[in-house]
């Protein structure tokens, strides 16, 4: 059996980041006199970070392949602009516009991917060009001004909540019972999954974590899920966008850990030549990875537009940096082959909590940037330090 200390040593990155996140949350909870963990703010936190998390899923895959995508902020803007122009100026049905936007996102991804994968131009350059091109197109499309507002249905993409089928209340205040129910189901599902994995490991005679650790871990996860559900339920319940995030995170966690395509992406990032000589069609895989990024960036573009209720020329400005930082804070390696969805998620939340907490405290945008930069540097320093210690 693995001892707790070796377990911690092997996963020091994941646990380290999680501890950092909790520490930052506790710090801001005190500094903001409890505002941070208020139901309305927690909901806000989710809404504010939904686009960073959405794009982090795609960016993580790109970083694992060993490349980077600098264009995502501009793609967010151009997709938002297109949606605005089509819906507001030309009165196109918003559902159709969503479909068109996602397709266009795929096309933009394919554009970048083609240059990187088949014409072998470094992604840094290709996507830097894309960043300029799509920002320019955004301003042209919008003629330099904001376009809005959007119809209710479109706005609901990011500001809607799932309805409460029970119409519940607690202490005479509305209380979203459906949310609690979903929380309970999710907790049971997570425990069941973990138990199944453990059983499988035992069946094949692999080392498992000690039972008490398993129990404590599951209690902690359940407590977190239920606490979160409770906070959500006391406000308006689960935002629709959270459902989308949940689906995306589950999907990409699965892709990276258990799918053939995920395994091949890691192999390509770890050693492109060896992967190619093992029969992996590396250019095509890289091409797909960029298409995937394009679709996710356009999804984020729609969420941003819906949330602002208008398309603005500088939407998504600098967002690529938050997304990339989330991946690196989450332990992805700039040289490729390394990175986890859960890490990117924790990284995105860490950045989100920093943004949110400092904004509540009234810290100016200037110092916010300084703090985020320092955190990024410290996280990577922590990585390097660990690596050297183990070597």
């Amino acid at each position: 059996m693995k001892t707790l200390s070796t377990l911690f040593k092997n996963n020091v990155r994941e646990y380290g980041m999680l501890i950092a996140l909790i520490a930052v949350m506790v710090f801001f909870q005190f500094q903001t006199k409890g505002v941070l963990m208020k139901p309305v703010n927690i909901t806000n936190l989710v809404l504010q970070n939904s686009y960073v998390i959405t794009m982090a899923m795609g960016m993580l895959l790109i970083i694992i392949t060993g490349w980077i995508d600098l264009s995502v902020g501009s793609v967010v803007a151009v997709i938002g602009a297109l949606a605005g122009v089509l819906i507001v100026r030309y009165d196109v049905n918003w559902v159709l516009v969503v479909a068109i936007s996602l397709l266009l996102g795929a096309a933009i991804g394919a554009f970048h991917g083609y240059f990187v994968a088949y014409l072998k131009i470094p992604a840094f350059i290709v996507t830097l060009a894309g960043m300029l091109i799509f920002r320019g197109l955004t301003i042209a499309l919008l003629r330099g001004e904001s376009v809005g507002p959007f119809p209710r249905g479109f706005q609901n993409i990011s500001s809607g909540f799932i309805p409460d089928i029970f119409n519940g209340s607690l202490n005479d205040k509305p209380f979203h019972i459906t949310t609690i129910l979903i929380g309970v189901i999710l907790s049971i599902l997570l425990i069941w999954l973990d138990m199944r994995t453990r059983k499988n490991q035992q069946k094949y005679g692999f080392e498992v974590t000690p039972l008490y650790f398993f129990v404590v871990k599951n209690i902690a996860i359940t407590a977190a899920v239920m606490g979160f559900s409770y906070l959500m339920a006391s406000y308006k319940g689960i935002p629709t966008v959270l459902v989308l995030l949940f689906v995306l995170i589950t999907f990409y966690a699965f892709i990276t850990s258990s799918s053939v395509i995920g395994r091949r992406i890691y192999a390509m990032g770890g050693n492109e030549k060896a992967a190619r000589l093992s029969g992996v069609n590396t250019p095509r895989l890289l091409f797909y990875t960029f298409i995937n990024m394009g679709v996710l960036a356009s999804m984020a573009g729609l969420i941003v537009a819906a949330r602002l209720n208008s398309s603005t020329p500088n939407a998504g400005d600098g967002m690529e940096l938050d997304v990339i930082a989330a991946c690196f804070i989450g332990g992805a390696s700039p040289s490729g082959g390394v990175g986890k969805v859960i890490g990117a998620l924790v990284g995105a939340f860490l950045i989100g909590v920093l943004n949110n907490g400092m904004s509540i405290m009234g810290v100016g945008i200037d110092w916010q940037k300084v703090v985020k930069g320092v955190v990024l540097l410290l996280a990577v320093l922590f990585d390097v330090y660990n690596k050297n210690k183990n070597a």
């Binding site: 094949y204 053939v260 000589l277 093992s278 069609n281």
Partner: protein, 513 residues
């Protein structure tokens, strides 16, 4: 002559959990060539890293005396200052800098931070002359062959006024011709009073130039043999290295050769960058069921290029020719198609082309055949674990677990992981490119055993090797390549080293371009 230039006393170096060196003592006399031999993992490289200050003073126990003075090197610059220069297995030259720039890197001929190019160039020319390399000081490293790069490394050591030169596997990637030159050079240096430590797996070389041989095994000194007094045979050295007699260096195999299973006809390949340069010309090759076919030739004869171009056009452009499997023409135009047509190619460069070093052993083994362990694109992890554990046991891969990173395995075990990967893809035709390069005698024997087993299972094997004894000892039939052409073919029973060498060397241009 018997003045001692270097003495290392009771060196002990421990890594977490492993004692890499245990009380090793080692001394080198003034003006001798001292060979250091031992299996992979015996501690040769560790000992040299201690000596050159890569492992600084304080991280090991024991004492080092150089020219009678105790040395406590804190880093490599300190050891170089006293004239101790190490040349690593992997060359440390900057590809896009010129010879002159590389020679004086970190040691620039400069006044007040401004490089004196005239002095640098003329000094470079002088040093190149000393190592017998006729190249302009302005040639970029990337435009030179490995053999010449090795000479540049040595010239670089001379620039530092070397007194004791340490060469770690200097001939591992050189052909016989270049190896010969390099060894000659060492002998010349000896005349000029420069001592050398030579780490090598090639015992014939060791025998040729070494004045004494120290054998390391499992982190301890086993013995030091004096070649000037006694006549030391290769078998004698091997006995010391492995601690047992290796009566057969090549395991015997009962031959059971069937009909032709794979054939390549009129194969032509051009260089990927210099498109008018032909790297394979009208090559015809056949492989029979249960047959081991050797491909002999010098480095640069086009053997790897031929193999890779057959393996899904992984190398070259404007490839033409036909491939037949069991008499029927097959499409092997992509690696994917080549694999599904039963061809596998295990690369000569396992670190760069064979393994994803930062990944687990099990991920490496299954990479070429993920379909086998997945349903609908979802990997069945328990099955993967089971399959890879089987290969670990079958090929005797020494790893702490199948989840250990490939990075942390020794060369021989890494090679076995590469082999496992291709065996798991269950090919019919297996091309092995230098499968025993840089691995120790014991592991080599194991690889030969695996080759025999595969042949017995009815697979066709193409073995590319630069070691003639290996080709002669393992193969049934031998092709000889020169300048991208097959210039000879003979059954192994009729072949001898001299005969094959004659084919290899005839019309070989003496002056390289």
């Amino acid at each position: 002559m018997s003045d001692v230039i270097l003495e290392m006393r009771n060196i002990t170096k421990t890594f977490p959990g492993v004692k890499a060196l245990n009380n090793v003592s080692f001394s080198v006399a003034q003006g001798e060539i001292h060979a250091l031999v031992g299996e992979n993992g015996a501690g040769k490289s560790t000992l040299m890293k201690v000596l050159s200050g890569i492992y600084p003073y304080g991280t090991y126990d024991g004492e080092i005396y150089f020219q009678g003075k105790e040395c406590r090197f804190r880093d490599i610059t300190e050891s170089e200052k006293v004239g101790l220069v190490i040349i690593h297995q992997e060359l440390a030259l900057i590809p896009f800098l010129s010879v002159a720039e590389n020679l004086f890197l970190g040691n620039e001929r400069a006044k007040n931070g401004i490089i004196d190019w005239n002095e640098s160039i003329s000094k470079t020319a002088e040093l190149l002359e000393r190592v017998g390399l006729h190249e302009s000081p302005n040639t970029l490293i990337t435009n030179m062959g490995v053999g010449k790069q090795q000479l540049v490394e040595i010239a670089k050591a001379l620039a530092k006024e070397v007194k004791l030169l340490i060469l770690d596997e200097p001939t591992a990637s050189l052909n016989e011709n270049d190896s010969e030159k390099l060894l000659e050079l060492l002998l010349q240096f000896k005349e000029h009073g420069i001592s050398s430590i030579l780490i090598s797996h090639k015992l014939s070389e060791v025998n040729k130039v070494a004045d004494s041989i120290t054998i390391l095994r499992d982190g301890s000194t086993i013995e030091t043999l004096d070649c000037r007094k006694d006549n030391i045979t290769e078998d004698r050295i091997i006995r010391g290295m492995v601690g047992r007699d290796l009566t057969h260096r090549f395991p015997p195999r009962e031959k059971n050769i069937g009909e032709v299973i794979f054939e390549v006809q009129d194969w032509n390949v051009y260089h990927p960058i210099h498109e008018d340069r032909k790297v394979s010309t009208n090559v015809n090759i056949t492989v029979r069921k249960g047959e081991v076919v050797g491909v002999a030739g010098l480095m640069g004869a086009g053997r790897t290029e031929l193999a890779m171009s057959i393996f899904g056009r992984a190398y070259g452009t404007r490839i033409s020719g036909n491939a037949y499997r069991n008499g029927k023409e097959v499409d092997i135009s992509t690696i994917d198609k080549a694999i599904s047509n039963g061809i596998a190619y295990a690369t000569e460069d396992r670190k760069a082309y064979g393994l994803v070093l930062i990944q687990e052993v099990k991920n490496n083994i299954t990479l070429a055949n993920l379909e086998e362990i997945s349903n609908n694109q979802v990997i069945n992890e328990p099955q993967e674990m089971k399959v890879t554990s089987e290969y670990r046991d079958k090929l005797n891969i020494k790893c702490s677990s199948i989840q250990q990173l490939a990075l942390n395995l020794s060369g021989g075990n890494q090679q076995k992981v590469v082999l496992s990967k291709w065996l798991f893809a269950s090919p019919e035709i297996l091309i092995l490119d230098e499968p025993t390069r840089g691995i120790d005698v014991g592991a080599k024997y194991e690889i030969y055993t695996i080759i025999n087993r595969l042949a017995n299972e009815g697979k066709g094997i193409i073995l590319i090797s630069s070691e003639l004894p290996e080709i002669l000892g393992v193969c049934d039939r031998i092709y000889i390549m020169r300048d991208g052409k097959i210039v000879g073919e003979m059954p192994a029973s009729e072949a001898s080293q001299e005969k094959v060498m004659k084919y290899i060397m005839t019309q070989q241009e003496v002056v390289e371009q």
